[in-house]
């Protein structure tokens, strides 16, 4: 009880400026949120024998606060960020502190005007997507002007002009883009009466970056464009998009002048407990950045959505797929069916089963001989879209069963079969060296089983368990994991987990990775304290990934909103 009082007082002291409800001033409303994360790092020779990841500072902390003021059709906001210093695994470019996002926005006469910072997306993002993924440290916010207009019923136009964020700087390149969308069903009711909803869109983006290369004539203006369609009828939805990018020599593509293109299509069906999704994607040389010399996750103009399932369970999440912007082709098929309650397979509460298969491989590439210097630079390679590439990048076949057994107990059982090309996804090896030396390709094949159970102990008391087993002869070898979480709604949450890398081929690396956490929640505020080991891995969101180094220490996180 005394501990609880101390915790509450500590939280109130920390959160005093934020604990009030939305503040009213000048007739409008002020909202915001705040997050602070930190970790005290401990030297751990087991996971980091040479100390290469052990930070000089010992303690690293970072945080941010958003403030948004709205008053009728007017709104404005800002975000303050601090990295003192940036935590391990986040991009090193975050150094320092300051206001990184600020904007003013008003809506009037079918116009929506934003000046300052903004996020925006054209279609699926193959031509342009400006967004933030805080967990990855990814933020390519635009700084400039955005205008949205509703020209006529069902006709929408967006225009953007500005530079992208590059940590605490701006990208060297400038973006100018336009997107138009027409909802045919809104304009022609005949379609609507047939049960068809059809939307067409087109987008265009031009990048300008100064060039002063002494060897190469570089295009300072690079354009990309795309067309898309969304057709819906009853339980069916078909999304298709095609994008094209003009010559854009860059560090990503080895400074070749070949144009790029991408195609993505998804068909889905959902009715009477049955859901089916089929997707296909092919991209060829679609890296598009506001700095032709950019790398990793810096200054990407477009977003190439993944066609693989993103896993949240810890062991399969160690081997996530990251979209290969220089070229890939893939398919994804997913089907799920919910057996009805009181049926033979559904039981008293119903049963959900699902199957997902995704596979990604290289695209066909016929490289120009290196001796033909000019053609090699202009074209790089020829690719036939009807030919399959020969290098497997990734596949994932998984089955899931979710079942509620009784009012107190339910479980999820998952099996996965993974193939992961480590040369591509970890080492960043290009297709050409792999085609020349296929025997050097490093892969990881694994079978994974996950059992998750949730048990209601009594009113407001829940026990959740996870048991995971990853079986492989490759990379770091097999691992097993157990997790126990106990939550007392609405305030307390306790968690203990351990991953044991029992199959590591290096006897010194057959390590345990224990982690214990306690979370306290009060209203909109949440405080988390953790202690334990974090093994190296890859953290991905939406096909964009970052490498997480191993670490050991005490970490905390405080979040709140008002």
């Amino acid at each position: 009880m005394r501990m609880k009082q101390i915790t509450l007082r500590l939280l109130l002291l920390l959160l005093l400026p934020f604990t009030a409800a939305a503040q009213e001033s000048f007739g409008g409303q002020l909202h915001g949120n705040f997050q602070l994360d930190g970790q005290w790092y401990l030297r751990d020779e087991g996971i980091d024998p040479t100390g290469e990841f052990y930070p000089d500072e010992r303690f690293l902390g970072q945080g941010y606060a958003n403030f948004v003021y709205t008053d009728g059709d007017f709104s404005g906001g800002l975000r303050y960020e601090n990295y003192q210093n940036v935590m391990l695994g986040f991009p090193e470019g975050y150094r320092g502190e300051g206001i990184t996002y600020r904007y003013l926005q008003f809506k009037q006469d079918n116009l929506d005007v934003t000046v300052g910072s903004f996020y925006e997306q054209f279609g699926s993002g193959m031509v342009f997507r400006s967004y933030e993924e805080r967990g990855l440290g990814y933020d390519n916010a635009m700084d400039g002007v955005r205008v949205k207009a509703n020209l006529a019923k069902g006709v929408y136009l967006k225009g953007v002009l500005g530079r992208q964020r590059f940590y605490f700087d701006k990208s060297p390149g400038l973006l100018r883009g336009l997107d138009a969308e027409i909802n045919l069903s809104e304009r022609w009711h005949a379609l609507d009466s047939l049960g068809l909803r059809w939307t067409l869109g087109a987008s265009y983006m031009s990048k300008y970056q100064r060039a002063n290369d002494p060897f190469l004539v570089l295009p300072e203006n690079v354009a990309a464009g795309g067309v898309r369609s969304q057709l819906m009828k009853g339980p069916w939805v078909l999304n298709t998009e095609f994008a094209y990018k003009a010559n854009d020599p860059s560090a990503d593509n080895g400074y070749i002048y070949k144009d790029g293109n991408g195609f993505i299509a998804n068909l889905s069906y959902s009715k009477n407990g049955l859901g089916i999704i089929a997707g296909v994607k092919r991209i060829d040389n679609m890296s598009f950045r506001t700095d032709r010399n950019g790398s990793t996750i810096d200054m990407l103009v477009n977003y190439l959505s993944p066609t693989t399932e993103v896993h949240t369970y810890a062991l399969p999440a160690l081997y996530q797929y990251a979209t290969q912007i220089n070229g890939e082709e893939g398919i994804q098929l997913e089907a799920n069916y919910r057996f009805k309650r009181k049926s033979k397979l559904g039981g008293k509460y119903g049963t959900l089963i699902s199957i997902n298969y995704s596979a990604v491989q290289s695209i066909d590439k016929d490289y120009v001989e290196a001796s033909n210097d000019t053609l090699r630079t202009l074209q790089g390679y020829y690719s036939d879209p009807l030919q399959r590439g020969t290098i497997p990048y990734f596949h994932d076949l998984n089955f899931k069963i979710s079942k509620k057994v009784n009012t107190s107990f339910k479980f999820n059982l998952t099996y996965l079969n993974l193939h992961y090309n480590r040369s591509v996804l970890e080492d960043g090896l290009g297709d050409e060296p792999m085609l020349s030396n296929p025997e050097n390709i490093k892969t990881m094949n694994a079978d994974v089983i996950v059992l998750e159970t949730l048990y209601k102990v009594k009113s407001k008391h829940y026990l959740r368990n996870e048991f995971q087993l990853l079986s492989t002869q490759d990379d770091r070898g097999s691992m097993a994991m157990a997790l126990i979480e106990y939550s007392i709604a609405p305030h307390w949450f306790f968690s203990v987990q351990d991953i044991y890398n029992y199959g590591n081929p290096d006897p010194d690396q057959k390590l345990h990775y224990p982690l214990a956490s306690v979370v306290y929640t009060e209203g909109t505020s949440r405080f988390q304290l953790s202690y334990g080991r974090q093994q190296r891995g890859i953290f991905c969101v939406g096909g964009v990934c970052r490498v997480v180094p191993p670490s050991n220490g005490v970490s905390f996180s405080l979040t709140t909103s008002f």
Binding site: T50, G51, E52, F53, D56, E92, G93, R95, G96, E97, G98, D109, N110, V147, A149, L151, L157, G159, V160, L161, F166, Y167, F168, D169, R176, G177, L178, Y204, S206, Y208, N212, D213, P214, F215, L216, V217, P219, N221, V222, A223, A246, N247, P249, S250, A251, Y255, Y257, R292, N293, S295, T296, T374, T377, L378, S423, D427, L429, P433, N437, N440
Partner: protein, 277 residues
């Protein structure tokens, strides 16, 4: 409504125009200017590298290409510093190329990935990353730096006495008024060192030739004072330095690099490379 559509039409044109450059001939012609005998501004490229960094040989090649184009006006310096999984030694990569000074510079300027570099340390700021550049951008940055005004010219000589002591003398001649202090750094680099290197196709080249390897600093990492503001054309600055010579270095493959910089923003105003006699 008419005005509204007109405005939107103009707005569309604003965003659409200038659009796209299509390039048919990607290469420029010969670019080296050999007509000038006056000293011009040179470029020091600090190339942060590691023998277990597979993309690092590409950075070294980028420097070679610039030296081929611009001759001695480009001074490469390979600093083996960065994450241990790129720079540490093991049975396959036994040579320790790291130096304490290299590590100090890498820590101060704040990067943790390779390959990456600085071109005359332009655009440094405590919270920014403008001073870092990938090797693919070095041609552009070098070209711009080479075209910029020379603010101080340098002359230097380096001699090993009795195979034990290295003596270096350096002189500076301001070419424009200088309203900030100057610091000077002298260091030794060595080329043609044969030692294994991880290559970009994930193979190990046991006969890789390492070039421009930072061996040691004659001065402190951050140099010593060379000039006090103000300085004007006609002033003459000079300093002498001595250091212990490491006999394992092959003299014919070594060179002394001398550079002067503004200690408030670390910008390198001039760098020269002289042979060690």
């Amino acid at each position: 409504m008419k005005h509204f559509l007109l405005s939107l039409g103009m707005f569309t044109l604003l965003f659409i125009s200038p659009s796209c450059d299509v390039i048919d001939q990607p290469f420029k012609g010969n670019i080296q200017d050999t007509t000038s005998t006056q000293q011009q501004r040179n470029v020091l490229i600090e190339d942060f590298t590691g023998h277990r960094c597979k993309n690092c040989p590409k950075a070294s090649k980028a420097i070679e290409a610039l030296v081929d184009a611009y001759g001695s006006r480009i001074i490469g310096l390979a600093i083996h510093a960065g994450p241990g999984n790129f720079t540490n030694t093991n049975a396959d990569y036994p040579t320790d190329f790291t130096t304490p000074e290299g590590k100090t510079i890498q820590n101060f300027f704040g990067t943790n990935f390779l390959p990456v570099g600085m071109v005359n340390r332009e655009n440094w700021s405590a919270s920014g990353n403008g001073h870092w550049s990938p090797y693919t951008n070095w041609p552009t940055l070098s070209s711009e730096a080479l075209d910029s005004t020379l603010r101080i010219s340098l002359e230097a000589s380096a001699t090993v006495v009795n195979d034990t002591i290295l003596e270096v003398t350096a002189e500076g001649f301001p070419q424009t008024p200088l309203l900030h202090d100057l610091s000077i750094v002298v260091l030794i680099k060595e080329s043609n060192i044969v030692s294994p290197q991880l290559m970009d196709d994930d193979t190990r080249d046991s006969n890789y030739v390492h070039m421009n390897v930072l061996r040691d600093f004659v001065t402190d990492t951050w140099g010593t004072s060379f000039g006090i503001s103000p300085m004007i054309p006609g002033d003459e600055l000079s300093e002498s330095f001595t250091a212990t010579w490491n006999t394992s270095w092959i003299k014919a493959n070594t060179a002394a690099v001398v550079y002067v910089f503004n200690p408030t923003n670390y910008r390198i105003l001039q760098a020269i490379e002289v042979p060690i006699n």
